[in-house]
Symmetry: C2
Subunit: 139 residues, 2 copies
DNA sequence: CTGCAACTTGAAGTTAGCTTGAGGTCAACA
DNA sequence: TGTTGACCTCAAGCTAACTTCAAGTTGCAG
């Protein structure tokens, strides 16, 4: 395990140093030592950051992402939680596939009004049950 | 086209009435009339809202979503933009697939440290180039 | 005709996720 | 040995996306 300087981590991960410091206050990452005042990181931090980045793009809050990282004693619960998160991601993927198709359709369909195009109508019919769930489950 | 009351739209779409009013100020939706003071919506608003919801879950800002809805004169540019958005969504999907696999792996893999598990290492190796792009392209 | 629940507006407040600024410290190079 | 530039801390500031609040209005049930 070699140590990397924060500026290097920033460069490699695409996160700004200020974001890395912020993540540290949230307990999402830790620096393993200091060189003077400067944070040095174990290179596994890059995996963590990649997961954080992907987690964010999956719509998880930093708090949720943090929970996933807690490898606590009761790891059976933890495994369950991870699978649940994976299920959520897959659900999300299904929704995005509909969106991609809808976008391409709207781009290509020559119909005046999409609300009257049967192809579009059919696509949208699949969407609501997927699309409204997030909001309900919040808070 | 039948008109629906805002409370009904809220119920059907999963968005709160306050959010609907907010979207109206941003020009994302319009109410087609009023009953007294109360907003009434054309039922195509539900499609729009489903698209908004999906767009958000794809990580687009309300402003970006609004742009997509602008069906302006130069529709060739518009088509191009829509396809670009679709490309972004598909890129996003690829990233989420890696995340889902990573989550399931971490849940099931018995290795002490994931950073030493070759399967995990291999997955993560695919991720960075996908995961860091969003941040760079912002602003 | 009278309530009153459910809407209205505009302004202010909230939360997440960072970034920025002021003032300080330090490693490394000339 | 001194200077400099990149880091440090802590507090305050910022943006997006809403929500909440206070004060007013209105459709409709009784």
């Amino acid at each position: 395990m070699k140590s990397i300087d924060i500026s290097e981590v920033a460069k490699l991960s695409g996160f700004k140093a200020s974001a890395l410091r912020y993540y540290e206050t949230l307990g999402l990452i830790q620096s393993d030592s200091r060189k003077g005042l400067r944070r040095q990181y174990d290179d596994t931090v890059l995996d963590r950051l990649a997961l954080i980045s992907m987690g964010q793009s999956a719509g998880f809050s930093l708090e949720e992402i943090g929970e996933v990282f807690q490898k606590d004693e009761h790891f059976e619960i933890d495994r369950q939680r991870l699978h649940t998160k994976a299920d959520e991601v897959e659900q999300h993927i299904r929704q995005l596939r509909i969106l991609a198709r809808a976008l391409r359709h709207v781009a290509d369909c020559t119909a005046q009004s999409h609300s009257e195009c049967p192809t579009f109508r059919k696509m949208m019919a699949e969407a609501p049950k997927l699309a409204t769930r997030q909001k309900q489950s919040e808070h």
